[in-house]
Symmetry: C2
Subunit: 319 residues, 2 copies
Amino acid sequence: MDSNANIIVHEVGPRDGLQNEAERLSVSARLELILALAAAGLPRIEVGSFVRPEWIPQLADTGELVRQLLAQKLPAGLRMSALVPNRTGLARAVECGLREVAVFMSASESHNQKNTNKSIADSLREFEQLIPEARKQGVTVRGYVSCVWGCPFEGPVDPKRALEIGRRLVSFGAEEISLGDTIGVGNPRQTREIVSLFLGGDAAGPGIPAGKLALHMHDTHGTALANCLVAYELGIRIFDAAVGGTGGCPYAPGAAGNLATEDLVSMFTEMGIGSGVDLERLFEAGAVAQRHIGHALTGRRLQAAFGRRAKLAVARAAT
Amino acid sequence: MDSNANIIVHEVGPRDGLQNEAERLSVSARLELILALAAAGLPRIEVGSFVRPEWIPQLADTGELVRQLLAQKLPAGLRMSALVPNRTGLARAVECGLREVAVFMSASESHNQKNTNKSIADSLREFEQLIPEARKQGVTVRGYVSCVWGCPFEGPVDPKRALEIGRRLVSFGAEEISLGDTIGVGNPRQTREIVSLFLGGDAAGPGIPAGKLALHMHDTHGTALANCLVAYELGIRIFDAAVGGTGGCPYAPGAAGNLATEDLVSMFTEMGIGSGVDLERLFEAGAVAQRHIGHALTGRRLQAAFGRRAKLAVARAAT
């Protein structure tokens, strides 16, 4: 198979998933989950965040978690990263032994303000210093641009604004830009327009090569897979997803889960497009996540797998 | 807008949805649901089934339901139909005043046997008589071919076998063939192959024009919308869906719901492709369905709408 046909799954469940779940997992539960995800063959896992624990108590003790993780026997080549809000966070991540970090900002001014307490201009000023500083230490930086498909406060967002931010982050030295449909409302026509714009550029400047772009979809309206399909056809190969669709429960007001990793891996695998992920072991990781989080996760493929197992167990008990 | 860009939604919730729900709805509850669906602008509603009530108790009294429905003031142009297993069922449907029926069979021999207690050859023999008999009375017949994407007993199904069945049903006088992913496991590559085969034909005979083909997807693996998108791009315009994704709960072993009507309508509407359905009124119908069925329905767009409303209500109460 043409290896450029394959996708790369960037697992964000232990970070973007858990930070939006009501249940706060212990460091040992998070460790167990991450090891299960690594055992499933996921090539990249975002393990936590170095934002202040008052802001996101679910991800407190990420430093301790990383130390424990790095003491484990991990699959060769596994890439682990964590979110850092600023240079203090970067220093803490590096101190714990991480070699990859991610910074985040929004394409919407009001979302950036509410989410990071900074203007877009101030975020860019921070990252203009942070990214080169990280690179000087050999640390790879991923840049999240959120609300590209729409903002919960402003509604539609001009994708050229998002592209300009992406270009700036790349110019500072970011290795990859992850484009987020933070509220999960994107439709395939819009995805085609956004991805084409990012690849082709606009009057203000060039595009960003497909190899430096990732798609980060939430599944509020059920369109995440259709959006990934369209992006794949345009050349995108890196997709973010969260085990079980963690990060929001459809039965909780306004909450929006991430695209479920099993849904993503399953669809592409069945299309003959590889990801290196073992789906059965991914279901095991999903079972770990569901057990610790304490409610049924929303990923469809995962629940179908659980259902089939339950049926088999009943059939076995009956014989 | 080019009207050939628009889609036609064939609502199957009151039939395919309810027949797979554990809760049995009263005739008056089914009536309320169908009227709410009609009020949302759905152009076609499959209201029930004339199979024997011992087989599907959920759809008992479809005759009484149809009589009550036809006594209501209904939107002009609304097309209502019911499933009929044989000529006795056809006679009952006509007697109640229906002018459209649907027959069903499977592309998989074992599924056809288990589902209809007949071989594929026997089903075809029955419909070779039933369809012309219906047409003689001015009754339109839709033909369901299920398990086209795979069979719960046999696994993969040869799509050429399904095409041959579809061609036979069309030759008997069926107005439309609805291709079913009965277990909801289809992937977009497979959908492209199946739809292309149905449109283009094979060595054994011609294809079937897009205007005579519908897609009937279940959403077990979360791929239903991606599959509809691919089929739309190939020219398919008629899509089956069920209010709220009724027909199965992901938290029940092995159950697989239909594609949710709100998910389908929402995605295409946001792509600028019309369906004539009012999404807000469709959510109202979803609320009716959820109230009567008694558990949270699985449609993502519907639950997102409920979540937003709950949030608004909280915000209003707080001011």
